[in-house]
């Protein structure tokens, strides 16, 4: 089952590339493939047994027996919602790319390959397999940015690649040390029987691994690839990048850094909290300096990912569940913001905010979409972002009071930049140059509607998702408890 979810996009992509006769067929086949993946992912999610702490839907085969590398897939409460999120955004990414005219077949091919890579990361339970998927996602993303992007696309693609390559080299080194010490890449075995680390110290390995995740999340000061990559990427790539790829970083911290090194996480949580608060405030302040709509959203992502790190660093059940919720919520909210930004660009032919304005009367539906996503981003109750943030704060306040209060000011800043952006892009008097543009079409509205549904449902009845994260994180919290503290 998990194999099907992971490889259906890749296999489908190859078949589609070979067999599809027209761009139209390419689009519909891609939609069909991503929809099937979404359905399968939802089935997996819905059938998870929350009382069972072990990974489920397990598929486990010896792969390279000489090195004890396994093909080991499984999901639990932590990964199942992320699997669903990836499926949802996969569909959305296809729909939002409906108008791609340039090298259409290749575009959808790489988009589907990208989905395989991301999905694989969330279900791998073997370190080497995890690493392979982690790397697989790089190539399609690099190509999507450098071929279908805008602005300084080659520069941004290269920067993204170099950043990720360098940091994942460190991750690989960390994984090899682990293997060298324990003789296995099996994450579950490593978690249950922590090896004594050979060659270097346990914190050394922790930080080698963390480096890759911190770049991905991203954590200040490892974030500068993100504004460039997000800004210059085509909409679908921004959606996947912000929606799920950043979450791979947080997921890695949960699944590998904290699960395998709970003591180290405890010892260095002060450092993590500091970086978290800096990310929140620094990202938010930087937003106010931006004039490009996509770049603005990119910096807001950095700020919001800071909340994730704050929740993680609280190292408690409530805060960590909040962090996971923030991953999920931000995945839908920011993906939606990027879709809106992409549509604005497509229709108004500019993303330069001072040139925009008064779009509300020309495109009321898109305005509503932006407002809903924006309000969710600023943590308005009844939407998913609020649930995540209040949980993070409830979890972290008892441990890091001052840091939490500082981070709360991020909420004021986010209200400021969201409303300021809405004002400058959508509200105010109409501008004559936009007199001819129209509102979103049905195909464009569909993914936006899906995101709105996800944001509102989770905001009003969060137990749909929190119950899973709660169950999935409980074993990790137990490890932290066992680590003393």
């Amino acid at each position: 089952m998990l194999t099907a979810i992971v490889f259906l996009p890749a296999v489908g992509a190859i078949l589609m590339a070979l067999l599809a006769r027209s761009d139209r067929q390419v689009r519909f086949l891609s939609l069909l493939i991503t929809l099937s993946v979404l359905v399968l992912a939802l089935v997996v999610w819905a059938t998870i047994d929350l009382d069972d702490p072990n990974p489920q839907w397990v598929q486990r085969y010896q792969w390279i027996s000489a090195f004890d590398v396994q093909y080991f897939l499984g999901v639990d409460g932590l990964s199942a919602p992320l699997l669903g999120l990836t499926g949802l955004l996969g569909v959305a990414a296809v729909l939002i790319s409906w108008g791609i005219k340039h090298r259409t077949r290749e575009f959808f091919f790489w988009l589907l390959i990208l989905q395989t890579g991301i999905t694989g990361v969330f279900v791998s339970l073997d370190l080497l397999l995890f690493f392979m998927f982690w790397e697989v996602e790089l190539i399609p993303m690099f190509l999507l940015i450098s071929i279908w992007g805008s602005g300084r696309r080659e520069y941004s693609a290269m920067k993204f690649l170099l950043y990720t390559m360098l940091s994942s080299a460190l991750m690989l080194a960390g994984m090899l040390v682990l293997y060298f010490s324990a003789g296995t890449f099996d994450m579950i075995a490593l978690r249950d029987a922590p090896p004594s680390i050979a060659l270097i110290t346990a914190p050394g390995v922790f930080f080698l691994l963390l480096a890759a995740f911190a770049v991905k999340l991203p954590v200040w000061p490892f974030h500068t690839w993100l504004p460039d990559a997000h800004t210059d990427a085509p909409t679908a790539a921004s959606v996947m990048l912000a929606g799920v790829m950043l979450k791979m970083g947080a997921y890695g911290i949960f699944r590998i850094c904290i699960s395998l090194f709970p003591e180290v996480a405890r010892d260095y949580s002060d450092l993590l909290v500091t970086l978290a608060v800096v990310s929140v405030l620094y990202g938010a302040v930087m937003v106010f300096r931006q004039h490009d709509l996509k770049r603005l959203i990119a910096y807001s992502s950095i700020s919001h990912m800071g909340f994730v790190l704050l929740g993680i660093a609280s190292l408690g059940q409530v805060g960590m569940t909040g962090a996971a919720m923030q991953m999920f919520a931000h995945g839908t909210i920011t993906a939606m913001l990027f879709m809106v930004a992409g549509l604005v660009y497509e229709k108004a032919h500019t993303r330069h905010i001072p040139d925009l304005g008064g779009l509300a009367s020309r495109m009321p539906l898109l305005t509503i979409a932006f407002m809903i996503a924006g309000l969710a981003a600023l943590g308005l109750p009844s939407m998913s972002g609020f649930v995540a943030e209040i949980l993070i704060f409830l979890g972290s306040f008892g441990v890091y009071r001052e840091a939490t209060i500082l981070a709360m000011f991020g909420l004021v800043l986010s209200a400021g930049y969201i409303l300021w952006t809405a004002q400058r892009v959508f509200f105010g008097p109409e501008k004559p140059r936009f007199a001819a543009i129209g509102d979103v079409t049905l195909v464009e509205a569909a993914p936006l509607a899906g995101m709105i549904a996800a944001i509102m449902v989770v905001g009003i009845y969060p137990s749909f998702v929190t119950d899973f994260f709660d169950a999935g994180l409980a074993p990790i919290v137990d490890l932290l408890g066992a680590a003393g503290g």
Binding site: F386, I390, L419, T466
Partner: protein
Amino acid sequence: MPEFASWLIFLLPLLSFVLIVGLRPFVGAEWRGAGVITIVSILAAFALALTALAATIGNDAHDLGYRPHDWLTIGPLVIRVGLVMDSLTAVMVVVVTGVSLLVQIYSTEYMRGDKGYVRYFAYMSLFTASMLGLVMASNLVFLYMFWELVGLSSYLLIGFWGQGKAAEEHPRAGDAAKKAFIVTRLGDVGFLAAIVWAYVATGTLEIAEIHAMVAAGAFAGVGVTWLALGIFAGAVGKSGQFPLHVWLPDAMEGPTPVSALIHAATMVAAGVFLVARLFPIFEASEGAMTTVAWIGGGTAIFAASMALVSNDIKRVLAYSTISQLGYMMLALGMGAVGPAIFHLVVHAFFKALLFMGAGSVHHTAHTYDMRFMGGLRRPMPWTFATMLVAGVALIGVFPLSGFWSKDSVLHAASINGLIGGAEALYWIAVLAAGLTGFYVFRMLFMTFAGEYRGGAEAEATAESGAAAGPPPRRRLHESPWIMVAPLAVLAVPVLFAGLADLPWDLFGFGAFAMTGFLTGHVETFSTSVAAVSSAAGALGIVVAYSMYVQGLLSPSVLGQRLRPLHTLLVNRYYLDHLYEGVVVRHVLIRVLGLTAEVIEGQFIERAVNGVALIGRNVGRIPVAMQNGQVQAYGAMISIGIVLILAGFWIWG
């Protein structure tokens, strides 16, 4: 009353919102049915609210005792949703649904022909639902959700005319909306921190359980003070108290019925309600009580002073609202919950009336600038009469409702020696009462007395700088009955609501029924306090009369004489300038933003490029990559992995 019926009080307006939004694609932007749906749903909610009030009065504990429901469970944390229906909530739901009902009826005429008619009623329904949820929530997180949602509705309605064609006539609407949301959110950070702190300190988010712990002394000391101050920060933002009052005058950019309902009667009073709801926490901390009393008393006089010089009728009323909310806070700080809520209730009536009256005046004069009004008493007898009644009640003239409520507040200030400087606060409040008398009658005289000064046409002439010719004659008229009727209906409680809290029994009313119901104990009444405040109010009226009717003292000459003071007041003590010009534009965007930008460009990016350069020279890998052969690089990585693994296998 079954719990489900109480839920309906807030679900009905919510349903109205959902229904209007759902129907919007199928109807025109000016579909009149939206108003009907809203009014019917709020009427039903009003009926249920009255039932709830009766049930609460009939209940011995004055609390219907609903149980909360689990919403979210994570490890040790349980967040519940639940309703409370006690004396405080019962009174509030009646006020909110009652005023909202009248405002919606008024709006059907006031907003007729507006391009956003349907959207308007959708927002109004959303606001009413959120406000009702706020006063009924039994849990801090649940309360906070509605607290933010009323803020959202307020934002949407202040900025109602900030888009499309309407934005050309209302260029400041968008900024005002944004300012309201952001300034109140600053206070909300304190409130949110307090909620989180309450959970960390007590392990619960249920208001009743926190109260029980505070009452039992299980949660005491400086922690309680911080908790109270955090909550109060939220209240300061929402209720426009100093120093977060700056958004409320600007909020007058919204449609006038919105100002009446949200920015006078209900939402801005939510801060007062919040302190009353969580009063046991405040009571446990002398420091918190002193802060509340001083912020309240200070705001009462501070805002009244700005009302003295404003020429915009809505802004006069806005400053007055801030000032009256200050009175309520003062009462709370003095420990007088009953008088505070009593004043909240009667203020909701007369201030909603005054705003709707201002809207009625605008309907015929097409301006809010009082310099271009005058002489409207004859063409608008109903508007004049009802506004006069409300204005007199606002000053606190015997025997109108405002007299009894304001006196109960002042009486509390005069007898309470609990906090530092109580006596000074009493005299501040008396002085503010005098200022109230002045600005209310200044407003009434400028609007209704003398000769008509030309309305919007004259304003346009004055702005264009052309020589002021004789104002063009337009037929001035009273507003349609559907706008006047809500004014007349509201005048009834403005006149007689005092009966609910007379110091003696009269026809079955009185003997502090209202404050007694709210607090469970009976107040006292002081004739001397009433005499002093009445004298202060009367003095204010006399001064206004001599300046604006008799012309004994010219306002412009007085302004010249007291130029520094006048300039200070007209510029609102320069606080807006400080916040927007200095804090936001300079400190946040210039200083912090530039610093971050320099860090980003000069340090982080340079370091990154340095690392990249090393990689380029040492590895020469980028040569391959620049040919676009990333696949090759991926393959190299894979080969590298295999080599490393082989190395481990052979030598490891």
